[in-house]
Amino acid sequence: MTGDGLLRQAPRLTLILLTLPVAAGFLGTLMPAFWHDARGFHALWAWNGLPRALGLSLSTGVMATAGSLLITLIIVAGLYGSRGFSVIQHLLAPLLSVPHAAAALGLAFLISPSGWIARLFSPWATGWQVPPDLLILNDPWGLSLTFGLIAKEVPFLLLMAIAALPQTDAQRRLLAAQSLGAGRVSGFIVAVLPALYAQLRLPVYAVLAYSMTAVDMAMILGPTLPHTLSVQIVIWMMDPTLSHQSTAAAAALVQLLTVLGALLLWRLAETLLHRLLIGRAEAGLRAPWADGIARRIGAALGLFLAGALFLALGGMALWSVAGLWGFPDPLPESLTLKTWTRSAPDLIESGEMTLRIALLATLAALMLVLACLEAEHRFGLVPGARALWILYLPLLVPQVAFLPGVQVVLLRAGADGTWLAVAAAHLIFVLPYVFLSLAPAFRAWDPRIALAGAALGAPPWTVFVRLRLPMLLRPILTAGAVGIAVSIGQYLPSLLIGGGRIETLTTEAVALSSGGNRRLIGAYALLQMLMPAMCFGLALMVPALAFRNRHGLRVAA
């Protein structure tokens, strides 16, 4: 019965695992701000870049969130249920598995004045023999950063929307609204949107918090004079002289307050928009003319974003095998494997480290999530709204506001700079995604199968291992692939907890991005993208092979 007791505690244990590091790290991070008569704050106020850096965090974060939400809703409203929608649905997994850094590096090459787009149109269309002196990349308004964030966050919100739509009874509501004479889009806005948004609220908050505080993307695409606040915080933290720790802590506190303020403002805007919507609905919003427009815009936006990401990654792949490739040549003069062969030892080493960390963190997350869900099933526990908030906590609190504190704790324990510590830190971020990915399938599993097993004399453990796990193999492996993709994409936890000594594909790629060796960056970015893609491939292939003679499962999955 002790096994049962342990299982019963699994949800509580998991929630503690999520809250404790965040809370402890939070305190540890912010305390240095108050040392030595709050010297950190004085230094921060004295920095003339502060207003601009703060404004940038706020503007890029809000613009990116509003933009990705709007695009997601247009795609859903215009295309839900159509063939185009299922095409987009199929593109989601590969797009989601692209780490932020790899996407940013690819986009940087795509849009810079000497980048691929400029090369494709020069000189025949533009007349440019040398790249124009245009401030596109790293622009002081953070527009390229916003674009990059939108390209990466739309797939995430779309996935969340697709998961939420069945629970909102969208098809029937839409039909009902349309039978009352509303257009498809207006029907969606009036009948589906409120219920859908209620489900999307937490993911949207996570996107807002992430976009305001992203480090890797901002380092590559964001402004440099000054940097966004989160990037500047990391620069202060990593200063080898350790003389800016208190400034970094003060800035982290300011960053956190800004995120909280932005979340509050967002909530306020939600309420206002909701009122407006109800007003329009009562006024009898019909607008059938909007349908065609939404369908076309939705399809165009989806294709544009997917195309930009695929082109960006294609560019990186091409650079990794490029010989001399000067401006304005649209393609390299020659192709060579030199970059790959020369950097193979480093690539293998950091690739192996990346995979080791990702596998351990994902395995631990899968075990915890399965334990939580099994406990939920066996003891009839009903997770409340608070549990959901805690699940999202690591995604809502800015990483720079608690990871440095975690680092200090680990440093005291002598455990920083080890791959195990990095894997433990990854677990905090991997776990929510694994849970969100696995829970629907786990909860949808027919409980009569467990009952049938019990009636045949099988104890709960046997039912779990011999019936539930194999039948859920595909969603479990998919959740595992999601976890691995999330872990591979982690930049700040690897950098801070690894103390700069653990080199993963992502830390290497971001470090290289400040240098200029695009061929090497291309190799790292490609590998960074291929590894999660291969995991998703395995997640599809293994169950297909294992159950190749089992029709009943193929339909279910």
Partner: protein, 218 residues
């Protein structure tokens, strides 16, 4: 493997409303039928015997099987078999795998278990079906596999939760005959839940409502 099933003043209520009130015993080889409209507490009675009653239900009285008090035992320890409306074959296992799953661990050795499976299949007219994917079987074949699987677990009593309602008329008579034959020959105490008068008649045992009103004596 036969035994008498005793329901000793078994009462189940939900928020003050009585749903089940049974005080009777089922002899080996006979089928007790519980009849009533949907929502009348038929399934609640089965859940109480199976041990899967949700916590918000109140239960009084005792349940005994072969003289063993199973009232508070976990479902898998009761030795009560269950046939559903659907056959609930495990889709990831072969037909043979489904049957082997049910064989108690006391039967050791691959060969011994294999021969039990073959024997069960042959007696159901399904010899040679061990390697088949359950999804490729017909409805009648699936129903027979489900029953054989239940019997292989050597239950002391059998619960039948409208097991024939999804079958078409021809098949229904055939499968029903097969099931009741097996119950009689195995000497199992069985409880059938149904809203179909034909089923009750074919079962041949007493018919009661969930609240214990006798509709027909054997």
């Amino acid at each position: 493997m036969s035994g008498i099933l005793q329901l000793d003043h078994l009462r189940v209520s939900h928020k003050g409303t009585a749903l089940v009130d049974l005080n009777l015993s089922v002899a080996p080889g006979t089928v007790l039928t519980i009849m009533g409209p949907s929502g009348s507490g038929k399934s609640t009675a089965l859940a109480a015997i199976m041990g899967t009653l949700p916590r918000e239900f109140d239960r009084e009285g005792r349940i005994a099987l072969e003289g063993r008090d199973i009232t508070d035992l976990a479902p898998h320890l009761r030795r009560v078999g269950l046939l559903f409306q659907d056959d609930i074959l495990f889709p990831h296992l072969s037909v043979g795998g489904n049957l082997a799953f049910a064989i108690p661990p006391i039967t050791k050795g691959r060969a011994a278990r294999q021969s039990l499976v073959e024997e069960a299949l042959a007696s159901a007219g399904l010899a040679g079906f061990a390697g088949r994917d359950p999804a490729t079987l017909s409805g009648g074949q699936r129903a027979r596999v489900a029953l054989m699987r239940t019997l292989l677990a050597r239950p002391c009593a059998l619960l039948l939760d409208e097991p024939f309602s999804r079958l078409d008329a021809d098949l229904r008579t055939q499968v029903r005959g097969f099931v009741f034959d097996r119950i009689r020959s195995a000497g199992l105490a069985a409880v059938l839940v149904t809203h179909d008068l034909e089923d009750a008649r074919a079962a041949g045992g007493p018919v009661v409502t969930p609240l214990g009103k006798v509709l027909a004596a054997p």
